[in-house]
Symmetry: C2
Subunit: 173 residues, 2 copies
């Protein structure tokens, strides 16, 4: 099955992680591949997921935020990273090693045109039916929703950043 | 901070679990208290969370679905369970033992009138500010959203059950 978590609200990546936690508990092998988050920025989820290895594995393929939050990397670096990450995803999907693969923030990589929607759709269509896939990130294109079995829009009703609260360790990352 | 995950879409409980996973990775002590799920029904999240104890603890205080899915329990049994679970939550909030406490499906317990909204609001207002709280479940009352720092509506765009797919182990529970 293909799941999509999109929308402007908090909870997309964490919902995918929670789904991974649930799957691990049922004996499934889970891989999360992150399209935006980079190895350089350690996150809370990373530390806990590492303690669940090899049942739950994590690959941080991104190079960090693109064009915001002080990002000074040339666009090509982000494009290359996203393309490589997509290759890793494709191989993992066909490896037979995972029952659930999370493509974290892949929707953002598509929106930013770091990778082509067409290629992602192609990979999804060719994925073995026994592999569950979760795609996260705001701005999921309608073609992706169409191909998905389940889609949730995480819609912001209230967000503390708007009240001037800064990102908090263990909450935002 | 008080977080609310509500709405009719998939991802509310899993988002809370993912948030817990993130917090554990940052050295925080997490407790999830489930208002509807009962001890009798083992879930995937339960098995994985047990492997993270004592950093991540889980209490299943509910008696299962209320009035649906073959539930034959007298309403009083559900009410008693929910009231007891709320007492446990209140004590945990003031115990100083947890940095993040998830009240899973508490919104449903309120909607079903198993516990009073008034009592829940009272507990939230008196909670120490250093304890983060996450409340999940569809139908969060507006008074709860008002008191929350962050609220996300998980809105169903597409759901496989509507296509006749049954609940799948490791996905739905």
């Amino acid at each position: 099955m293909i799941f999509v978590f999109t929308g402007n609200g908090k909870g997309k990546t964490t919902a995918a992680i929670g789904q991974g936690i649930r799957a691990v508990g049922q004996g499934k092998r889970v891989l999360m591949i992150q399209f935006i988050k980079s190895k350089k920025w350690p996150t809370g989820e990373e530390k806990t997921i590492q303690s669940l290895e090899p049942k739950f594995q994590l690959i941080k393929g991104g190079e960090g935020f693109v064009g915001i939050m002080g990002d000074k990397l040339p666009r090509e670096v982000h494009e290359l990273a996203a393309r490589e990450t997509l290759k890793i995803a494709k191989n993992a999907i066909h490896s037979g090693e995972f029952d659930l693969i999370i493509l974290d923030e892949v929707n953002v990589a598509i929106s930013l045109n770091l990778i082509k929607l067409r290629e992602v759709l192609e990979i999804l269509k060719k994925a073995p039916s026994e592999v569950d896939l979760i795609l996260t990130g705001r701005g999921a294109p309608k073609e992706l929703i169409k191909i998905a079995d389940l889609a949730t829009e995480c819609k912001e009703i209230k967000h503390p950043f708007k009240k001037g609260v800064l990102a908090k360790i263990g909450v935002e990352y």
